[in-house]
């Protein structure tokens, strides 16, 4: 494992701001804080507004000041380059170098550190901190404490440290994002670096993207800047075969299909990933035929083969020449762990497949699911979401006076206009407060040209909701009516009575 030396000058951008609490801001979040600001509770990743609330006299260092300060770091690098050539400057205030060469030259790691600190202090007038350890993470954390971590002891050193310690290894522009990831991991119960090491890099990458990949490599003492392509989630995996001689029948193509299906499954399995879509293509000398399937449930080699075979059968009659190449591409890859069923509450595979097939058959907007939301009327509280969408956040408000149970079983999509008459024969019209002056006696439902009067045997209400004139709302009154046939919910909207729902 490579041993690194890290030279670290704390708060380089804030050097010279020691008299008052100071901080730098990146994308409305605090990216660096001085010690006095940190004492007031301001941390990296804090929103600017919160930081100002915590520390009212916080001084925000402006960009020209930061740029001038960063330019001064070139003097430090020039001095260090004489002692530790081939160093890597991370950003003004931090540099690192593999320590093996310098250690051999100066005789020991302690000697390297002493020489470096003394030179920087004497020639630049700056107090730096230096640490040496296995891997960049341990070396950086050791530099904070000015320690040398013995070879092989880096894991024991970093394991008990909180995850937030890793934030310091990221560029200022990324720190807010990393802080968010750390908060999410903490919420999941992963508090220390040791607990995070239990997760595979592939899982972290699939969930948290590049930040997750870098974190995963950091805690394994790898260099995060040497990310392999396999660590970053690929969007697709393709397997293909050139057909020699070109295929002229579907039965020949099916022989290749099994080989391709097995290859794709093996590649996905090696990565611990599953494909959510599968693209199959056949190339002739003139055209390319292709088809894509949704695979909401992770398929296996046999299923990939089955898709390929059905594709070969389907295009057999449409080919304008012999097939020269067949390919099979897994798209929309995700971690297999994400698709693994959990103990409770998962959608059954057959239901998941059925909903996907329904969406293919009828369109994405034809398949939806119901959910309950806040509102005053029954109609407002019935929500529908396209399948696969997340429900919107709950509406604000306490919804006092909302219509309660018993609930109607059916809410008419298109309310029908009705007429209500009191016992005296007069049309029943609520007053401005939504109250009615007499008991409703007859309900007349307008069914086209035919109007059938129904005797009202019992009634409840009226219930008035809405009417916040300052919000542009119009008050409506609901009345529940029982007739010998059915029980209805009618609504008065200021213009007339409408049949709104049925019990």
């Amino acid at each position: 494992m490579t041993r690194y030396l890290v030279l670290f000058i704390p708060q380089w951008d804030l050097e010279g701001q020691a008299l008052y609490p100071a901080a730098t801001v990146q994308a409305n979040r605090i990216s660096q804080v001085s010690v006095s600001a940190a004492k007031a509770g301001v941390t990296v990743g804090t929103r600017l507004r919160t930081a100002r609330h915590l520390c009212p006299n916080l001084h925000l260092v402006k960009q020209p000041e930061i740029a001038a300060q960063r330019a001064k770091f070139s003097a430090i690098t020039a001095v260090c380059a004489d002692i530790i050539p081939d160093m890597t400057v991370w950003w003004p205030g931090r540099l690192s170098v593999p320590s093996a060469g310098a250690t051999r030259y100066y005789g020991s790691e302690e000697e390297v550190i002493n020489t470096l600190l003394e030179t920087v202090s004497l020639q630049c007038g700056v107090e730096a901190q230096v640490g040496i350890a296995d891997g960049i993470l341990a070396a950086t954390l050791a530099a904070r404490q000015g320690r040398i971590i013995a070879p092989g002891a880096a894991t024991d050193f970093v394991d008990p440290l909180p995850l937030d310690s890793c934030i310091d290894l990221f560029d200022h522009s990324q720190r807010g994002q990393v802080a968010t990831v750390c908060t999410q991991l903490n919420a999941l119960g992963l508090v220390t670096i040791k607990s995070l090491r239990a997760l595979a890099v592939a899982e972290l990458t699939s969930r948290f993207g590049t930040v997750g990949a870098i974190l995963g490599r950091l805690i394994r003492h790898d260099n995060p800047f040497h990310l392999d392509a396999k660590d970053l989630a690929p969007t697709q995996i393709e397997v293909s075969v050139e057909c020699h001689p070109p295929l002229t029948s579907a039965s020949q193509a099916r022989l290749y299909a099994r080989h391709l299906g097995q290859q794709l499954a093996a590649k996905l399995q090696a990565r611990g990933q599953v494909a959510r879509r599968l693209e199959v293509a056949a190339q002739t000398s003139l055209t390319r035929h292709q088809r894509v399937w949704n695979l909401l449930v992770g398929a296996n080699a046999n299923q990939y083969t089955a898709y390929l075979e059905s594709f070969c059968n389907a295009i057999a009659g449409q080919l304008d020449g012999a097939v020269t190449a067949l390919s099979c591409t897994g798209l929309d890859l995700c971690s297999a762990a994400q698709m693994a069923p959990t103990l409770w509450g998962d959608i059954r595979p057959d239901t998941l497949t059925a909903t996907a097939r329904l969406q293919q058959l009828l369109g994405a907007q034809a398949v939806y699911r119901p959910y309950l939301r806040d509102g005053y009327s029954y109609r407002q509280r019935n929500g529908l979401l396209a399948w696969g969408e997340d429900p919107p956040p709950p509406a604000a408000g306490d919804f006092l006076g909302q219509l309660g149970s018993p609930y109607p079983s059916r809410i008419f999509t298109t309310p029908r206009q009705v007429r209500l008459f009191a016992e005296c024969g007069r049309a029943l019209i609520p007053d401005e407060n939504g109250d009615i002056y007499a008991a409703p006696q007859t309900l007349v439902i307008n069914e086209g040209a035919v109007s059938e009067p129904q005797h009202i045997t019992q009634w409840w209400g009226p219930w008035r909701i809405g009417g916040r004139w300052w919000a542009g709302e119009q008050a409506v009154s609901y009345l529940k009516l029982e007739t010998p046939r059915l029980t209805y919910l009618t609504v008065w909207d200021g213009q007339g009575w409408w049949l709104d729902a049925q019990y």
Binding site: T353, A354, A366, Y368, S409
Partner: protein, 143 residues
């Protein structure tokens, strides 16, 4: 012992085992429920048929009050709604392959497809509910 007799004995033992382990409900299962306008009873039927793990699909049922459905015990997290103005054998095949309870609303289904759906429902222990046009009397009685 003839082959048919051995087959009958094996089927009997398997069905007893399924009922005993809870894989399949014991007793006679009513497949078709024609509820008409009484949607509260529809919710009761669907809720009972879904049980704790079943999934229900409502086809062409835009006017359901989901508050009432939830109050009747239907877990809305296991409900899917489908807008399909015309029936097709492909649609019915998908519905019977992925759901335990299928509620047909305002959708006309030909007698041929009705028979296929009911045959599949009987073999898979599914529950079919209809609210609009009654399904063929002959089929309903056969259930």
């Amino acid at each position: 012992m003839s082959q048919n007799l051995r087959l009958m004995q094996a089927r009997s033992a398997l069905s007893q085992l399924e009922a005993q382990l809870g894989v399949r409900k014991s007793g006679r299962h009513q497949v078709l429920h024609e509820v008409g306008d009484n949607w509260h009873s529809l919710f009761s039927v669907v809720s009972a048929a879904m049980g704790e793990t079943g999934w229900a699909v409502f086809v062409e049922m835009d006017e359901v009050c989901w508050l009432a459905a939830a109050a009747a015990g239907i877990d809305l997290g296991r409900v899917v709604c489908v807008k399909a103005t015309t029936e097709s054998s492909a649609l019915c095949e998908i519905l019977t392959s992925g759901f335990d309870v299928i509620v047909f609303g305002d959708i006309a289904i030909t007698p041929a497809i009705q028979r296929r759906v009911l045959a599949r429902a009987r073999s898979e222990n599914l529950t079919i509910c209809t609210t609009a046009a009654p399904w063929q009397q002959g089929i309903a009685q056969a259930m």
